[in-house]
Subunit: 334 residues, 2 copies
DNA sequence: GTGAAAGCGCTAACAG
DNA sequence: CTGTTAGCGCTTTCAC
């Protein structure tokens, strides 16, 4: 119930708590080897656990960082977290994770919570490209470094790591066209998510390049969830237009679309090619019928960690912007 | 850079810091309404953020709890975390998540890290049924409540929430048999994971019930990962035995098996029925060709939270053991 | 080498 | 109703 403190050790060994503190910190230049040994032994014997709370309060550094993600079902974010957590741990940081459920208000709450815990820095993939700008600004003003990943935001100059969604999307659609697809449906994402806009642009560009006239009836607003993806697919089907491929905004929405098509006995990929820009290597395993593009999620995590650590340790918040090129691995479904 | 403290507010308003503390805590019985208002206003104006570190040190309560999970790619654990985080937040707790990667040593490190942060309690799904028993015991002795979920452990009397894997598995295999399957392969999990043993037992029991002789060649040791699942499937195939169904230990391993079968052009579920006991509702959406059983992951999270909170607040660590019945929803794949 | 003392920001007696 | 005071456990000058 009651933890052992350095004072307990000090009494036991018969020295002052300063000495114990020094010994436990391994300050061998200021502590006699024998005292050192004795202190460390008794600490171990008594089951001493350093109270990080006190240390943090004293040093005003928590060695905690926060990761805020918009949702938790896509393997992408889980992979990101796992990698980031590993890297930050090696750098001596703990990680607090918060999920915003694609809701800007929850995101704001998460950020407040993290700030109150005095985390040393935050990595965030925002729900919305502009809604919480003021909150982000305040946090940075308070001296907490922020690194944005995967999704870009507007009107604020800040460090970010993302991939070239526009190019990836362009490649993806070009690939479909080169493989004989004529009528490609695009289930797009919300305007408020930067990647959605970029991917939509890539879709348009690829069509243009091959002189395929753009028909806006082939672009359906999908949202971010599987249900919304399914609705979008149904909406398109009700138009009765011909199609031989569907390019979805995310794994999640294309998944919804897929379930609708399967219910109607479309053969995939026999009749319809389904594809999206996927988050992780896992994608092709989990959704084996979806032609996928690998995004270098681990690289993204590494870069985010590196930048955040730099901001934290140098207090230099000069924004660093990185666009990863992405590993374009196109695979026919098995 | 520098945070506002209650002392800053006290000076600004012209009262003592105790009054500020009281006012900010909303102690309206001990603070004059006007002072209250004035303090709260200046706090807001000055951008005061309560330093949780100091509060925690003072109150020796962090209002942080830890969740330790064995892996992070199965939707099950992500769903668990999301639900648990939500519920704990409502109860006023923050959540620190740690992933052990199915490695007992990493699990031990995670636990130490959490203890050093002085978390108030831990929910854990262990990697191994016995390897870290001593660590668990120590933690409990130190007065930190532990709640185990999903996987059971051996030789220690502690709170746990799990489902009736044995029964679920029995039902699942029975279902296959009743639907005409004769030769059911079981890709089993490691003995060190309680659920694996229970599910294997359920498999045996169902066969027995229908007087189907048990043939151990139909049981292949799969591990916990997709790769191991794939290997197990290949190993079985090399035996040349006939089969019409595969019952895998987890989503992840059955997924590996699936990819092997698809590569060999088996029709699923036409030729082979694939199934497993799945973690979440999402399962049938993500792996639509797998007949799935829903595990009430949200219920499991709720119960775990409830028990943990009870332990934390009452300091009564009397173990509470709950076996959820699981929502048996068998679905033919689409 | 070691100890004494100050202080990180906050809460909670206790005393008015 | 409000102020004073004493810590929570630790690190870090500054003396000796």
């Amino acid at each position: 119930m009651k933890y052992i403190t350095i004072l307990d050790i000090a009494k036991e060994v018969g020295v002052s708590k300063s000495t114990v503190s020094r010994a436990l910190a391994g300050d061998s230049r200021n502590v006699k080897p024998e005292t050192m040994r004795k202190i460390q032994e008794t600490a171990l014997k008594m089951g001493y656990r350093r109270n990080e709370l006190a240390v943090n309060l004293r040093c005003s550094m928590t060695k905690n960082i926060g990761i805020v993600i918009p949702e938790g079902i896509t393997p992408f974010f889980m992979s990101f977290i796992q990698q980031a957590q590993k890297e930050m741990r090696d750098k001596g940081f703990r990680t607090i994770i918060a999920v915003s459920n694609e809701d800007s208000e929850q995101e704001r709450e998460n950020l407040t919570m993290l700030e109150n815990c005095r985390i040393d820095g935050i990595m965030i993939c925002p729900c919305h490209k502009s809604r919480n700008i003021q909150t982000y600004k305040n946090i940075i003003e308070n001296g907490i470094p922020l690194v944005f990943f995967d999704r870009k935001i507007e009107g604020i100059d800040v460090s970010q790591v993302c991939i070239n969604d526009n190019l990836m999307s362009h490649f993806m659609v070009e690939y479909l066209i080169r493989n004989g697809k004529k009528n490609i449906v695009h289930i797009s994402g919300p305007d408020a998510v930067s990647n959605a806009v970029d991917r939509y642009r890539g879709y348009r560009e690829a069509l243009e390049k091959f002189h395929i006239p753009y028909d806006k009836r082939y672009v359906i607003d999908g949202g971010l969830t599987a249900e919304e993806g399914a609705n979008a697919m149904e909406q398109f089907l009700s138009s009765g237009l011909e199609f031989d491929a569907v390019f979805g905004f995310t794994e999640t929405t294309i998944l919804g679309a897929k379930s609708v098509l399967q219910k109607l006995n479309y053969r995939i990929p026999g009749d319809i090619a389904l594809c999206c820009i996927s988050g992780t290597k896992l994608c092709t395993l989990v959704y084996p019928t979806i032609t996928a593009v690998e995004q270098p999620v681990n690289l993204m995590a590494s870069e985010s960690c590196r930048i955040l650590q730099h901001h934290i340790e140098t207090h230099d918040f000069t924004p660093e912007k990185i666009t990863l090129r992405g590993n374009m691995i196109l695979r026919e479904s098995t």
